[in-house]
Symmetry: D2
Subunit: 133 residues, 4 copies
């Protein structure tokens, strides 16, 4: 079962390519969960004092992506400017989180996996943003 399947049943025609939209929702959901786990893992590490920036940015990213998946998931009479602004907020948060996770990726596997997830979400958000323009 996928988000794409339920989007296909929506009574309003979806304005953008459904696969692009569904991918953005899926990746934002994956980012919300992954960044929540990475921030929590940072907190548990011995070198937590080196990971404050990482934890903080991952928390931001979880919040931004959680909001975005909901706002872009709604197809009933959307406001184009709000749709774009929420995707842009997720892009900024994912970018900051990916770059900081990258700095810790070689000694913390959760940071390596979280960077990967954030970069996947960035690609999905960029595709949706292009489709919304």
């Amino acid at each position: 079962m996928s988000v794409e399947a339920i989007l296909r049943t929506h009574p309003r025609p979806v304005a953008v390519d459904l696969a692009v939209l569904a991918r953005c929702i899926d990746e934002c959901g994956a980012c919300e969960a992954t960044c929540t786990v990475c921030a929590d893992a940072d907190l548990a590490e011995d070198d937590v004092s080196e990971l404050r920036h990482c934890a903080r940015l991952c928390l931001d990213c979880a919040d931004a992506c959680g909001a975005t998946l909901r706002v872009v998931g709604r197809q009933t009479e959307p406001d184009p400017a709000s749709q774009r602004a929420t995707v842009e907020a997720s892009l900024a948060a994912c970018g900051a989180s990916a770059d900081e996770c990258h700095r810790h990726a070689h000694h913390h596997e959760h940071c390596r996996l979280c960077e990967e997830q954030c970069r996947r979400c960035i690609r999905a958000c960029e595709e949706l943003l292009a489709a919304l323009s």
Copy 2:
């Protein structure tokens, strides 16, 4: 890439079966997205006045599941009572949403798919709740 993969890299030993925990996080994430779409589709239907209860319960379910995936996703020194209470809140919300979607499943395909997703989330939450006890 899966939530299970990043949970495996957490510095603290996870207290419960990792596959059970990951499934609950994944299903809560799927429920958050699916219920958001179903509530929005309800709003767009010609018979929206028959779907008020459904829309409302789906919004509740998205909120409850969004909170649960975060709270159970954290492994650093969890509070057992809070972990259980958040899973129970999702169970209640998913149950209400599934039952109401069931009433509309034969004429609204999004309700049929949403009921399915809520029931899958209920099974995953029940498994985690058993593991937490």
Copy 3:
């Protein structure tokens, strides 16, 4: 302007005492913000390694209270079991957060203020829970 004012304009009669309901929504909102700040302040402290449990519980509390303020804020055909379960999840999260903040309240002022806010939210949730029963 208050949440109580807009609740008074809702087309459906509110099943519980409006002042009790509005207080719960207000305190959950204050808890969401206060616990977010306290968790972040924990992360910035020199003794962050002593504050992992506090940060984690405050993040849980922000998530639980954010979900509760939305679920109880909706008056259209609510599901009583879901309403109670979400308030109980906030009660559990606020209790855990208040108790842990209390342990740090004498050397971290943000923990002292956060404990106070969590205890205020507990009282408001208990009042609403009694009214819902």
Copy 4:
């Protein structure tokens, strides 16, 4: 007790005027609650089919403001681009919600109150955005 009081106790110096920051957090919290109630009241109205756009935009606004209050509430090593992008997402969502609520303000009191709240949040977000630049 106010958000400003706990922000004052944060171990890191806050980069912007504390009163401006606290006002943005407070107004975003009020918007999250108010827009949740307005969307739910829309759903309960006899003319719900005229209020689909309003309900949808209020739900977006609640999601955007809930994310913003958390992201700007964190003071530990923030990412300036993410801070600005989340405030801009709330500005867009509040603007769309205020304009649509305005259209219904003369026959639905909850829309009138919600428009007022959204406009207050817009002012607070604009002040913070100016301070962040």
